[in-house]
Amino acid sequence: MDDTSITPLLMPKWGLSMQEGILVEWLVEDGAEISVGDEIMEVETDKIASAVEAADAGTLRRRLGEIGETYPVRALLGVLAPEDVSDADIDAYISSYEVPVDEEGDNAAAASQYAFVDIDSGRLRYAQCGDDGPAVILVHGFGGDLDNWLFNIDALADRARVYALDLPGHGQSGKTIADPGLGGLARVLQAFMLAVGVERAHLVGHSMGAAVAARLACDAPNQVLSLTLISAAGLGSEINADYISGFVDAQSRRELKPVLMNLFADSSLVNRSLVDDMLKFKRIDGVDDALRQLASSLFAGGKQQNLLAAQIADLDLDTLVIWGMEDLVIPAAHAQNVDTARVEIIDGAGHMVQMEQAARVNELILDHILG
């Protein structure tokens, strides 16, 4: 049975380490007409809970996923098909569907996509996805890691060669920061590009990572093809100082959870796994020092110390600024500060706009870098 008019609804794969997810809720009824971008179900992983948006349009002929059950990535959860496809054909499709298995098993395949590279100032972890198209480098923000791009990497990798790295002091990169200034971080990014053999790249940065990308664009404009600055630091002096100090100081779940709720417009996204993961990171030897060094260098006195908006505007560089309307960490008004940039403010999203409104952000980035 190979009926191309039948489209499967699958358990999504968010990020490199996801192997299974729990179907929390169906957001559409049996028989519903679905358009691309509709939220069709709620899925929870060990990292995050989120709605799954339809990638295809069609009539939802079957809901197979049971609420509360755990399914492997790419398991069949539902079937979209036009009215004229018979129930028998759909049954046949369902019974012949097999969850694709990676050659070396899911675990090995997931692990092999993370890589490490040594630069002068230490070891960096990164992920690389996609073989064709221009090089795109994703740079996460303060306290984040490359998994902040878990809803973006795969979508961008369809049409670009995507790299995402953990900055020093973050994720699974080395925890010593040679130079906690913005210039120092930009040099790390430059060294990373050299180490992985990327001469020029489209830089996509989030928050502090956007300031790092912008700094590199100012310091080495010939290495940067375009800038995408998301909820960016470096465009104005205001920043939520309570967020920064709260994040650095929090030692327990109870202290950290309310701080993390500042990151999302929908604060229910801050579930137990997300808080636990963040705590696990913060407990690792050296992380506390690294975060304090960065905070006191970049956000001394509760103010951003690096203002790059004018310099960015002077560069002859395509710049896209994306912001979540409900950003509680850095004011969305800063989006207007780069005179030459295209600006997109997205409703229903907070500071982590690339996670909360991933489909829209992915579309904007692809449009920006592919023209």
Partner: protein, 335 residues
């Protein structure tokens, strides 16, 4: 980089990393090297269940095979701690507490207080606890309540490899005597553990599962029994919140109270004997601090008030089961 390792490997890694980081960390215990001084392989055993295997090859004489005299080497470890070392002494089974208890509760636990805060005793005493190993009455007890009762001792009992590594590192870095209890039935249990060193602060419980109907408080192996029970109950629409205490002293009362204020129901699961147990302690504390939130009497699931039986059939009955936890939760839900 996180990878899956066992509880036993996590303990070994924590010891190895702390010995590498801090030259004052030493290890003492019966057969923790195993075979030293005799012909043949130098560290053939690495402890009775191989937890310290390989450490002698890396750290040499900072591991000491002691005579079979707990009173002597636990006393030496306590003394060495007061003189600037950070000894980790392996008591093998916590059941052997009896022959070295003065050194622990009347010496180590008292120094900080009796010397006006000027003396510190950064000793960690590792010991296996718990039943299920067919090791009979003298090697199977859950004596956590006895050590938890003593002010001046910190008591840790992890439920998984991630917590075991982080809590053992914290125990070694802590400036007070710590009794670190390892459930032998968990030694082979594997979870993701970072390769890097990390410390988990004491007195911070872990919420293993969130739920709005009943709070289950547990530690060690019982966390797993509680999780099995919660999975069964969830199918009937009963949502349990499971709190893994991780450290019994200090204890995270805030997390427990906060949860009971939300659920209104409490089940305490403890592998120890029921009288004067961690379960009875938590249940008393909740009754006093959150009485007005309670919708039902707190319930305790514990071992019976008997020694651990040697008969395998009886031993299996002795250890609190998921079924007993399910029953207790249902009783709290009765109108």
């Amino acid at each position: 980089m996180a990878r899956k390792i066992s509880f036993k490997e996590a303990i070994n890694e924590a010891l190895d990393q702390e010995m590498t980081r801090d030259p004052t960390v030493i290890l003492m215990g019966e057969d923790i090297v195993g075979g030293s001084g005799s012909p043949g392989e130098d560290d053939a055993w690495g402890g009775v269940l191989g937890v310290t295997k390989g450490l002698y090859a890396k750290h040499g004489d900072r591991l000491m095979d002691t005579p079979l005299s707990e009173s002597a080497y636990i006393g030496s470890a306590v003394g060495a701690a007061t003189c600037g070392l950070r000894p980790v002494a392996e008591l093998m089974f916590l059941d052997f507490l009896g022959v070295c208890f003065d050194q622990i509760f009347n010496q180590a636990a008292k120094f900080r207080y009796m010397f006006g805060g000027k003396a510190e005793t950064p000793v960690t005493i590792r010991a296996m606890v718990g039943a299920g190993f067919r090791a009979a009455a003298q090697h199977s007890q859950m004596l956590t309540p006895i050590v938890t009762h003593i002010p001046g001792l910190k008591v840790v009992c992890p439920s998984n490899a991630y917590d075991a590594k982080g809590l053992l590192i914290q125990s070694i870095r802590d400036n007070d005597p710590v009794i670190f209890c390892e459930h032998k039935s968990l030694y082979a249990h594997e979870v993701d553990v970072p390769e890097e060193s990390y410390a988990i602060p004491f007195g911070e419980a872990n919420v293993v599962r969130e739920g709005g109907d009943v709070t289950i408080v547990a530690y060690g192996l019982m966390v797993h029994r509680a999780s099995e029970a919660a999975a069964v109950l969830a199918k009937d629409g009963i949502e349990c919140e499971i709190i893994d205490l991780r450290t019994l002293s200090p204890i995270d009362t805030e997390t427990i109270i906060e949860s009971v204020e939300n659920t209104g129901r409490l089940v305490c699961v403890d592998e120890a004997n029921p009288r004067c147990s961690i379960a009875s302690d938590v249940s008393a504390m909740v009754s006093q601090e959150a009485f007005s939130s309670l919708k039902a009497a707190p319930r305790i699931v514990a071992a019976p008030h008997t020694p651990v039986p040697f008969s395998p059939a009886l031993e299996d009955l002795y250890i609190p089961s998921a079924e007993r936890v399910v029953d207790a939760v249902r009783k709290t839900m009765e109108p």
